[in-house]
């Protein structure tokens, strides 16, 4: 076992037009690696746990930067940094859920360079996988975490399918709650996909966490006006209050009228490979007052279908508690 920390020899492309980037990415296909802020790139490559022939650096593409208003909400360039999201006046005013989520990602230094696209596209953080073990997700036929002795405190309690890793993204659940649309371009053109369909679990494709495939570039994220200025609740519980991934997070958007919850989208992060939508909770609280009583009436509804591993039973009460906090509106 050699411990590498130099970048491997590889080509570097620095396109300034999306079309050029797509052309390069299409030509290189699986041998190319898209990089924005690089926070989920350099570790993989320096550790030699993953390899590529060439880096395609997107940072020079101006059209993928900036936050602008649209006829139905806002469009956030894929290269917008997490810090920019936390400081943008429109996002802070209308979509504070996303600003809060972005503000809890990692550390200030990482937020300064890490992009929204990178945060939602990042690979899972299962430590076995990251160490380069040949697990299911890496193409092997074994999961090291889902065993009687596996160190699986941070892993999934829902929807495991061979792989038990969870989504590490803090902004992903918030975007799904806001019914965001992901703008993806490739050589065939542009397609717009609901955030809810952007993330995929191991049951669909164990090698990928999103629908992005070689040649695809996530160029922007659109947030419709539907949930603008709604009532939001975000909370992330991690071991540390900075530079850490969520043990469980919650992102909730609610329409509350005269104290009554008319509609909601409630998402939980870090409990399965994708942001988990709690439709049963949404249904249970619809038409109910937003208060302690409604929160308590949920009991363990959120976690009732969970299948915990050896070391992560705690995620069930934690998830239930966060749901209650979101519903009652206070920590």
């Amino acid at each position: 076992m050699s411990s590498h920390d130099n970048m491997p020899e590889m080509s570097l492309y620095q396109p300034v037009q999306v079309e050029d980037a797509i052309g390069i990415a299409t030509e290189l296909a699986g041998r190319g690696w898209l990089v924005g802020g690089g926070q989920d790139t350099y570790g993989w490559l320096k550790d030699r746990a993953k390899t590529a022939d060439a880096l395609i650096d997107l940072k020079g593409i101006e059209s993928m930067r900036g936050i602008k208003e649209t006829a139905d909400g806002i469009e956030i360039g894929a290269l917008v940094t997490l810090t920019e999201i936390t400081r943008d006046p429109i996002i802070k005013e209308r979509y504070s859920l996303l600003a809060q989520a972005a503000g809890r990602v990692a550390s200030p230094q990482i937020r300064n360079v890490g992009t929204l696209a990178g945060n939602v596209s990042q690979d899972v953080r299962c430590w076995y996988y990251r160490r380069g073990l040949n697990c299911y997700r890496a193409g092997g036929n074994l999961c090291y975490a889902d065993t009687p002795e596996g160190m699986n405190r941070e892993h999934a309690i829902f929807n495991a399918s061979r792989c038990v890793a969870v989504t590490p993204s803090d902004t992903g659940p918030a975007l799904v709650a806001l019914e965001a649309q992901m703008v993806i371009q490739n050589a065939s053109g542009q397609r717009v996909v609901p955030a809810e369909d952007f993330f995929i679990g191991p049951n669909l494709d164990i090698r990928h966490t999103t629908i992005l495939r070689p040649g695809d570039i996530l160029t922007a994220v659109r947030i419709p006006a539907k949930w603008a200025n709604a009532t939001f609740y975000f909370e992330k519980v991690a071991d540390r209050n900075a530079w850490d991934f969520a043990l469980v997070s919650i992102s909730a958007a609610m329409r509350v009228n005269n104290g009554v919850i008319e509609d909601s989208r409630i998402m939980v992060g870090a409990v399965q490979a994708t942001p988990r939508r709690l439709t049963s909770v949404e249904q249970a609280i619809r038409g109910k007052p937003r208060n302690e009583s409604t929160a308590n009436s949920l009991g363990n509804l959120a976690s009732s279908d969970a299948n915990p591993l050896n070391y992560n039973h705690f995620k069930m009460p934690l998830m239930d508690n966060l749901v209650k906090r979101a519903v009652r509106g206070q920590a």
Partner: protein
């Protein structure tokens, strides 16, 4: 006592470089022709190296050679060889080094080297190897045995070897379940007093299990070294906590005369016990440079620093504590199994020592055993033994005090060591203790009397916890040398062989010399960090040792200077030396201050007079390192040099007491530290800002030990989970209080000329103990019996998820 420098803040000379980034560490040094060496580590936790084929690597243009265990002298078992010879005993254990013209080439070469291994069974839990029939981490056993008799008879190479200790399945099961392992074999035992009789007198007796994890050091500066040879001399840029005390050991590693080694280490980015003395990898750097006849930088990556940088020894144990009616500790019985990792050691006796001094039990028994595992080597880490015991002991002491109906702080004060305090197996004395006064001071600062009566419930989800804890470490030694030179221009050069491990103590200790010389600090130059700068033999920087030990040696060197100043003045103006005084950087006749000279003029006279005054002669009892330094400065000024032979007896205790208030969220398991107050019982405060830094830094690490830091090994494959900093989870700035209230007790130790003792290690111990105490208090006295206590454990407890504190395991968080 009114001092000129002691107790006053100053700006240590290295601060600016550290703030601006100008400070240089070992990896920053380059040399013309320098080549890069990198390590190849074992991918398996246990096995045998069958063969090494480096031919493909060596065929790469620019790859210069490999270095293996065959290039090193044999290491006696079970010490960790710098490079594995035959057996590998943990993942990441270095097998060989390869050197190339560039770092990239060296990495490429590593990927071309083929090593054939033969696997062996491995073990990551000390209790698994301790169980009869369980796997052994070494081919010939699982623990250190001493065979001094055989060594003396010439039948073994050393006095130690790897041997085997096993417990029955029932004994291990009992221990895992939190019961005494009756009849089990231990490797180390001591006791004093009639333990059974004293327990019989106790009205409150508790028995508890406990587990603490090991923690990697993860020094921010990895142990990269760079060495080159010129004219038979080795110039070595390294990263050690200490400086000159390691000189002879590093020379021995390189098999050269100490006079031919120049060790350069102006700044060290953390060591925490893992860099006190030269470590095995330094032999590879120096010898590889000699083998290639090129400057070699052996760069250690972050992951490698985890593997070879050692870790705190985890412990699994059982303790029985008895309190008498009045709250005095009558008896303690403690049994500890340490995880020594691969070839490392445990600190169980030090853990027991913590109990013995902090609570002065009338009788006590200790039993300890250190088991090897196929995990990273374990070694000293800030308060080794004492601090992890402080962590798990605090809530237990709280429980006992509460059962006895005694206030938790009053109970600690009642049992605290006083001037006649005793310590350890031999119940030896201590240099001094004002611990009751320190407890009073801290309790007042924290407002304990008011806070203890605050309601525990803050809201429907939040509860308050109030905690108290103590830290201890022996904090001083003696017998080292001080060295001062006054140049003809009057500049006072304060030479110190103390390493700059980041605490500023290297500069703080020589303030004792400036104090004695009554000189302006601006006229002093602290000389340190470079073997060519003529440094004295100074103490090691570990064990909270520096402040006591080196203020003494600085002081005796200053006394030597003063005596010589007076003799020079007497030779010039007549009379006896005793007729003269110093002041204002002058030596003058006490009865007529006009008859005198400046320090600079005296230095000029010293050069003219020669002999002992200018270093042409020197004391017989100084260390040879100091001798070389004096010889190099002969005739350049007035030389003051002396060995510390001041009286000393008993252990020198560094102690601290801390209080902690937390608000704990029962729904998330998270807590905020809303008040942290700590008082150091460290004698006279020499450098207030330095003390504050030590207490804050130690406090934060204590919080990490209590609630954050992790050490995880997968029992399926022996793979560590936390080779990186973010995985190890030291606390961040958002996990600790913005403001921490700290102070010194500031009562002088009579065995120090300036009254100072050390405090580095207790600063962590008191913090982890206070936070553990507060967590338990917030949860109605619930004992987790382990560190760390993390959010998931608290959530499980609140949810009654059945988390089993009695199932003792280490290396699982």
């Amino acid at each position: 006592m009114t001092y000129m420098h002691i107790g006053k803040d100053f700006t240590p000379p290295d601060v600016e470089g550290k703030v601006t980034g100008a400070a240089r560490y070992a990896e920053d040094f380059k040399k013309d022709g320098m080549v890069f060496a990198r390590l190849l580590g074992s991918p398996i936790p246990a096995g045998r190296v069958v063969s090494i084929d480096a031919s493909a690597a060596l065929a790469i243009p620019g790859v210069l050679g490999i270095f293996t265990a065959d290039d090193l002298p044999p290491a006696p078992p079970p010490s960790n060889p710098a490079l594995a010879k035959e057996w590998v005993t943990y993942i990441g254990q270095p097998i060989l080094a390869v050197a190339a013209e560039s770092d990239h080439l060296a990495e490429e070469a590593l990927s071309k080297i083929v090593v054939e291994y033969q696997r062996r069974p491995f073990v990551v839990d000390p209790l698994d190897t301790l169980t009869e029939g369980g796997p052994d981490p070494y081919p010939n056993g699982n623990t250190l045995i001493r065979n001094a008799g055989e060594a003396a008879a010439g039948t073994t190479a050393s006095g130690t070897d790897v041997g085997r200790v096993k417990w029955s399945i029932d004994q291990v099961a009992a221990f895992r379940a939190g019961r005494e392992p009756v009849g089990a074999q231990f490797g180390d035992e001591w006791s004093y007093g009639d333990v059974a009789a004293r327990f019989a007198e106790c009205s409150t007796v508790i028995e508890e299990p406990f587990v603490t994890i090991g923690q990697p050091h993860h020094s921010l500066e990895s142990r990269t070294g760079m060495a080159y040879w010129e004219n038979g001399k080795c110039y070595f840029h390294g990263s050690l906590q200490s400086h000159t005390v390691g000189h002879d050991a590093l020379s021995a590693m390189l098999e050269i005369d100490p006079a031919n080694l120049v060790f350069i280490n102006e700044n060290t980015g953390g060591g925490f016990g893992s860099k006190i003395f030269p470590y095995p990898m330094m032999a590879v750097t120096g010898r590889f440079a000699r083998k290639l006849n090129r400057p070699v930088q052996l760069r250690i990556t972050r992951a490698e620093e985890f593997y070879i940088g050692s870790a705190r020894s985890g412990m699994q144990g059982w303790i029985k504590i008895g309190l008498k009616d009045d709250g005095r500790v009558g008896a303690v019985d403690v049994a500890i199994v340490n995880d020594a990792g691969s070839g490392g050691g445990g600190s169980a006796s030090s853990s027991a020592e913590h109990i013995s001094i902090m609570f002065q039990p009338e009788a006590m028994r200790f039993r300890g055993l250190a088991m090897y595992t196929n995990t990273t080597p374990r070694g000293a880490q800030r308060g080794p033994g004492q601090n992890e015991m402080a962590a798990v002991l605090a809530p237990m002491i709280d429980k006992a005090a509460n059962l006895a109906g005694v206030d938790r702080v009053a109970m600690r004060r009642l049992n605290a060591p006083r001037m006649d305090g005793k310590i350890g197996a031999r119940q030896g004395g201590i240099s001094s203790s004002y611990m009751p006064e320190a407890i009073d001071k801290a309790a007042q600062m924290f407002n304990w009397d008011q806070k203890r009566s605050l309601p525990r419930e803050i809201s429907a989800t939040k509860v308050r916890g109030i905690g108290v804890g103590q830290g201890f470490h022996t904090a001083g030694s003696n017998g080292y040398d001080g060295l001062i030179r006054i140049a003809p221009d009057g500049t006072i050069y304060l030479h110190t062989g103390v390493g700059n491990l980041g605490t500023y103590s290297y500069a703080g200790v020589v303030r004792a010399a400036a104090e004695a010389l009554q000189c302006d600090w601006d006229n002093c130059v602290v000389v340190h960090g470079h073997g060519d700068l003529n440094l004295p033999h100074s103490t090691y920087q570990g064990g909270s040792n520096t402040m006591f030990t080196e203020t003494r040696s600085s002081h005796v060197a200053a006394l030597d200077v003063i005596q010589k100043l007076k003799e020079i003045a007497a030779a010039e103006f007549g009379g006896a030396a005793d007729d003269y005084s110093i002041g204002g950087e002058r030596v003058f006749r006490t009865s007529d201050s006009s008859k005198g000279m400046s320090y600079g003029e005296a230095a000029q006279k010293a050069i003219a007079m020669g002999g002992k005054y200018s270093g042409m002669e020197y004391p017989d009892d100084i260390h040879r390192t100091t001798v070389r330094s004096v010889q190099a400065m002969q005739g350049t000024g007035l030389i003051g040099v002396a060995k510390d032979t001041l009286p000393r007896s008993g252990a020198v205790p560094g102690m601290a007491i801390a209080f902690c208030e937390i608000e704990l969220d029962k729904e998330t398991g998270k807590f905020d530290i809303v008040d942290y107050t700590a008082v150091a019982e460290c004698g006279t405060v020499v450098h207030p800002k330095g003390l504050r830094q030590a207490m804050n830094g130690g406090g934060i690490w204590g919080f990490g030990m209590a609630g954050f830091e992790r050490h995880v090994y997968d029992p399926q494959n022996g793979l560590p989970a936390n080779v990186g900093l973010y995985q190890s989870k030291p606390p961040t700035y958002l996990d600790v209080p913005v403001h921490m209230n700290t102070a010194g007790n500031d009562m002088p130790d009579p065995q120090s000329p300036v009254g100072a003792r050390g405090i580095g290690e207790p600063a962590q111990g008191c913090a982890v103990a206070a936070l553990m105490s507060a967590i338990a208090d917030a949860l109605d006295g619930h004992l987790f019996n382990r560190t760390p206590v993390t959010a998931d454990m608290i959530i499980n407890h609140v949810a009654q998820n059945g988390f089993n504190t009695g199932n003792l395991k280490t290396n699982t968080f």
